[in-house]
Symmetry: C2
Subunit: 157 residues, 2 copies
């Protein structure tokens, strides 16, 4: 199972999230031998849960583990600081990323701290996020903590 | 409501977690005016959920918000990289920390990035974590991704 095969699982999660009316970001946690340990997608809309980004969902789905040295986190989008912090704290040594064009998170920081980064620049991942951000910009900014309404409020006051 | 009053809410959460057989770390998210927005505690043991640290639980409990510029995250223990990443990504400008003696997470990094840090060095927070780590070291190491079993395994192989 190569990086593209693993990404396909994360993309299927992103598509499922989109079909539910949610934010189309998916992720999966694999063992180094290709065994799927957990998978999930962003659940902000579906569960009203601001804390469940795709990587968090996949990490939770994998259950409790003594360690993560033999695991690979696969995500459709460059991980934000929250999800990058998850990777660093739990010592996940390898992150496969669908794309980093529509959002550039903390993956350079992870690389500086010894995490192997595989950036696939996948056209379907780029297209899903580009279309989503164009259709629902407020939802996207909410999900990454970009307080657009506060900017508008400050300008008006 | 001062920092000690806010910490009392997080400490009550930590005690509740301990009473449930869980990891005694609690947190709360407040508005700058002292309004409680969300509260919670680590749920690794209770829910078999590796992704719910105290800060994550409090953040989730606060529901969906357009922004966090007017909020304060209060936690009994220095936030790990995962929870520090949460604070940075969502632009939470102030973190109140019960103690950083038993674990030193990412709060210096947050300070470098402009987050105000209030470290209270609270004796009850120190005592709860010291007692917990002495009683259940494996559970503690699991919660911060310190793969003790893998170290032992590597030494033996």
């Amino acid at each position: 199972m190569d990086a593209h095969d693993m990404l396909a699982v994360a993309v299927a999660e992103a598509r499922a999230g989109l079909a539910e009316g949610g934010i189309p970001i998916g992720a999966a946690l694999f063992a180094a031998d290709g065994t799927l340990l957990g998978r999930g997608h962003n659940r902000r809309v579906q569960d009203g849960d601001a804390s469940t980004h795709a990587e968090t969902a996949a990490f939770r789905d994998a259950g409790r583990r003594a360690g993560y040295r033999d695991t690979i986190m696969v995500t459709t989008l460059s991980p934000c600081w929250y999800c990058s912090g998850l990777v660093r704290q739990f010592g996940i040594p390898h992150v496969v990323i669908g794309e980093a064009r529509t959002f550039h998170g903390g993956h350079d920081w992870l690389a500086e701290h010894g995490v192997r980064i595989t950036l696939l620049d996948d056209p379907e991942c780029v297209r899903m996020m580009t279309d989503f951000i164009a259709a629902k910009p407020e939802l996207w900014f909410e999900d990454i903590g970009e307080d657009v309404s506060a900017d508008i409020g400050q300008e008006q006051s």
